[in-house]
Symmetry: C2
Amino acid sequence: MSISERKLKILKAIVDDYITTGTPVGSRTISKREDINLSPATIRNEMADLEEEGYLEQPHTSSGRRPSDKAFRLYVDTFMRVSQLTDEELKFVKGYLNRKYSEMNDIVDVTAEVLSDLTKLTSVVIESKSEEDELKRIQIVKLSDRKAVLVLIFASGSVRDVMIDVPKDINEEYLENLSGWLSRFVENRNLEDALTQIRSGAENDLRLHQRFGEEIINLVLENIRKNAPRKNVALGGARNILNYPEYQDVESAKNFLTLLDKKDALYDILSDSNGLEFQIRIGNENKQEQLKHMSVITASYRINSRSIGTFGLIGPTRMDYGRVLSILQFIGQTINGMFDDGDDKDK
Amino acid sequence: MSISERKLKILKAIVDDYITTGTPVGSRTISKREDINLSPATIRNEMADLEEEGYLEQPHTSSGRRPSDKAFRLYVDTFMRVSQLTDEELKFVKGYLNRKYSEMNDIVDVTAEVLSDLTKLTSVVIESKSEEDELKRIQIVKLSDRKAVLVLIFASGSVRDVMIDVPKDINEEYLENLSGWLSRFVENRNLEDALTQIRSGAENDLRLHQRFGEEIINLVLENIRKNAPRKNVALGGARNILNYPEYQDVESAKNFLTLLDKKDALYDILSDSNGLEFQIRIGNENKQEQLKHMSVITASYRINSRSIGTFGLIGPTRMDYGRVLSILQFIGQTINGMFDDGDDKDK
DNA sequence: TATTAGCACTCGCTGATATCGAGTGCTAAT
DNA sequence: ATTAGCACTCGATATCAGCGAGTGCTAATA
């Protein structure tokens, strides 16, 4: 069942080579490696075996072999080592993130940017509002005769706003009071609790909304429900796909870009990370048809061990997994640091 | 100086043909058109003239001609007619925009999406915070020991939020009071006025901030200044570029996508619309190197005749200008309707 | 018995060559 | 002034040979 030590060594060499060159690897190339003292012929025999076992594939007779998804999986599980980032890389990331952090929105964008710049891959970042994120405040501000804006502020620091239509003769003061009233109900509750709390509160305390009946409360409830779960997502470096010889043909590039064009799709790509800290999906392991020949590595970032977002990289299956993983790790830490109760944030 | 009636007619025919086919147009093709009763030879003579005058160019001897930027400019200025959208198109837009409007953020995204879906071009949308947009409210909410979120709410309905570090021992109540105090100063003032107002107010009213001195006020001022002008921008249908035979070669596609990858660049593309309602920039008329072979059509959307955003389409110079313009027009109107003091919004 | 040298074979890639056809410019006829 | 006729241009497409990286198999070797 298990493969011999030697086969493993050869397989690793093939994968290493393929990751850097992207072209099928021949037996001679491998036999020239210092750590392998075998003739091309021997290696050919082993390669034939490895092919039979599904670790290698041959584009056509008389070409070299390339690793299959199965081989990459083995490689990742067995050989991958999280590499150390260089000093420049560390500086690059820090400079990027320190310079610009401000809105949650921005953080998502900037993270996507730094990820794709650093890896030359395509990055996706979502700020996923956890079910558990607690509300801090609800504020309704009147803008004009019939328009108001409803603002939800969460404990994680994320903010949602939505325009609502309000009855014409409602006044600012009323909305102000309503905001205070609602905020008292929701403070430090997650969304689900907050909604029930408001609903039951509305039944017991008729003073504030008697004039507009349940209309305004329902409006608020409905809009909270509809908008709070909205996901904030950013995409970076989509063009990078065109750097890989595998994607030089326009048709497959278009396919890929089409997938990325829908926010929902981006969300799907990152969503089934099952709360794992890191996840690597190789080729066929992806559900999406367009990603069957690509790999997706995702990580989640957390505040107080609660996940508040996921970010990931998409690239050809032959990406440098070790390096990519270490980058994700480091960026996760850095972002975490930004949300910590930031003592000594420069150290 | 001016061109003969007949030359104009021929030129128009050439442009029309080139817009639909994208390939250089030969004399025979034109002579077969119903409204033109001339032999190929005659047309060839006219075409030679038009080429001399800079309206046509020949990729190589013995190929047909294609219109130059100058020809498209003439075409747009002279012949373009805003076409009528079909019923399906109208429905498509309305369905799209009615279904999803909520956050300002979303509106920008959705506009980009509908624009590119409808035109098969690349769309860019920015919500440009006008200098004149008035503040409605400032709210500071404490999140943890040292973190708070500062929220700015504008009369246009747009909302900005930014995380700030606050002194550890500041309490919620203080921030609450501060919010009220600040809001009173800024209400219905534009950003510039609001800032001076707060500054002078801080000198005269020491009650609220005495405990933390100027620290917290400065923090707030600084963050407002830094973040309020932030632009919200969305991109749609970048992949559409690959549908055009002119951009089948990967190199130019990559160039184009690289341009779109930076938000600042997107902003630049739309920014010099000079407050015009519509603007068409053809080929060379664009400043950006990557757009020298493309056209950009932009429109601004307004509330009460004040521009609150710009949206535009980018595509090959041979786009269907009339149709694109009518789409921009209609979408502008529709969005306007959403922000109107929405009486009879379904009609 | 495991390894390797040797060799015929495969097949994609490159470059040269020929052919085709859409389109032109020019000239001479209408 | 227009047009028919014709030689010419040049990109696009197809065909074909030669190259070379790589293979699988067999027989010799340690």
